[in-house]
């Protein structure tokens, strides 16, 4: 894969036609909608998109309206990757028989619902079979479309409607499934994490995922004002905080080799820049119960966890764990 890195200016991107158009019915301030717009700006030619059931599928295709300017297919909840497998196989067959000359990219879009849990079988199968497609996970950390129920992607301590912050159990007792690491373990050519707060990085990674031959997986953290409970204007701010606190570090794994992306690398080189996780938690009402005296220990638990995961990532990136300056 000897492609030169894609170079673009903000103007060029802003002038590209919208393939995910206005008129969709996502909530005001919707993180996933921002992600989808940015991803579609990174397409490089004819593209077919397939979507799992979820927020984005529902808001963008309320019959008879559609916000998609590309061919688009939705079938069920757990099978975005199987859809993509079928589309890719069809394109291969058409190429082989001579009825298709040009290259058509296939993008599978799914939320954390359709990826971490019910969708993981199809995703794992498609990755093992090596289909040439890009799978984008827009992660709002709960089954948002059906009413904010917990998923395998919901973080520890978060209050959701099926892991509510109660008197006895303070939010989700389990940890977030390390889905991107699971995909790296599948030995696929490209895995990356991205944030809507850093659009240039997200576009670069999307393009890389499309260019790579074989399965590519992009995990995008997409805050949800409704489910995470914060003011609609703060979506990008919270997406940025997630990176700045190393709750959601940005990295790439090219053929299994991890490397930090600039926005997270700076945190490794200058540990003072790393913000305490409490700033991230304070900003979202889904963690409000952690500030009650009974559950304050969880904030330190979460900081410990974030630090541990960060150290582990640094080791995978062959970066020394720099001692943070003593306070």
């Amino acid at each position: 894969m000897a492609t030169s890195p894609w170079k673009f200016t903000a103007k060029e991107i802003a002038e590209k036609p919208e393939l995910f158009t206005s008129g969709h019915r996502a909530c005001a301030g919707c993180g996933p909608a921002i992600a989808l717009r940015q991803i579609m700006k990174a397409t490089r030619g004819p593209t077919i998109v397939t979507n799992a059931t979820g927020c984005m599928e529902v808001v963008s295709t309320i019959y008879p309206y559609t916000a998609w300017a590309v061919p688009w297919l939705h079938t069920a909840f757990e099978n975005a990757a199987a859809n993509a497998s079928g589309i890719e196989a069809a394109l291969k067959a058409m190429k082989r028989k001579g009825s298709l000359q040009e290259n058509v990219d296939v993008i599978a879009l799914a939320g954390d619902g359709g990826t971490f849990d019910i969708g993981i079988q199809a995703l794992s199968g498609a990755a093992e079979r090596g289909h040439d497609f890009l799978y984008v996970l827009y992660d709002n950390e709960a089954y948002m479309n059906t009413g904010i129920q917990r998923s395998g992607g919901t973080p520890y301590g978060a209050s959701t409607t099926t892991s509510p912050a109660g008197k006895v159990i303070p939010g989700k007792p389990q940890f977030k499934k390390p889905i991107a690491d699971i995909m790296v373990a599948h030995d696929i050519p490209y895995v990356a994490t991205a944030s809507i707060a850093y659009w240039q990085d997200l576009l670069m990674k999307t393009r890389k995922g499309l260019e790579v031959e074989g399965p590519a997986f992009l995990h995008v953290l997409t805050p949800c004002p409704r489910g995470w409970r914060y003011d609609t204007s703060k979506t990008i701010e919270i997406a940025r905080l997630a990176v700045e606190t190393c709750v959601f570090p940005l990295w790439e794994a090219v053929n299994g080799e991890y490397s930090l992306s600039p926005q997270s690398k700076i945190m490794a080189l200058k540990p003072d820049r790393k913000k305490p996780v409490v700033e991230y938690l304070k900003a979202q009402h889904r963690f409000a119960h952690l500030f009650k005296p009974d559950f304050e220990y969880m904030v330190s638990d979460i900081q410990r966890m974030v630090d541990k995961n960060w150290d582990r990532l640094l080791k995978k990136c062959n970066m020394k764990v720099v001692e943070k300056a003593k306070e």
Binding site: A14, E18, T21, S22, G23, A28, G31, R37, Y65, I236
Partner: protein, 95 residues
């Protein structure tokens, strides 16, 4: 829904969509409206990249930022993120 509802003989098979979402104006959702101060705006083009609704456009001919109030839902992300604080959210109806 304001359009006349069609019968089964008139609509395409298989649930294929026959209207673009751009015919469904979501602009009436908003309570607050972004107003940009062109003096403060540096045309950095961040806001078109982070609007969930593609309601901020770069007008190539005018070489300027343009707000599409037909689709803006008034979330306030643009105002919150603008590096020069050039955008203010104003309640609809007020100047």
């Amino acid at each position: 829904m304001s359009q006349e509802q069609k019968g089964w003989k008139e609509i395409p098979i298989a649930g294929v969509c026959w209207r673009p979402a751009t015919e469904y104006a979501t602009g009436d959702w908003k309570t607050f409206k972004p107003i940009r101060d062109p003096e403060k705006c540096t045309k950095c083009l961040l806001c078109p990249m982070i609007c969930p609704d593609a309601a901020i456009k770069w007008n190539k001919a005018e070489e300027d930022i343009e707000f599409d109030y037909d689709f803006c839902k008034g979330c306030g992300i643009c105002a919150n993120e603008c590096p020069t604080h050039a955008i203010k959210m104003v309640r609809e109806g007020e100047s």
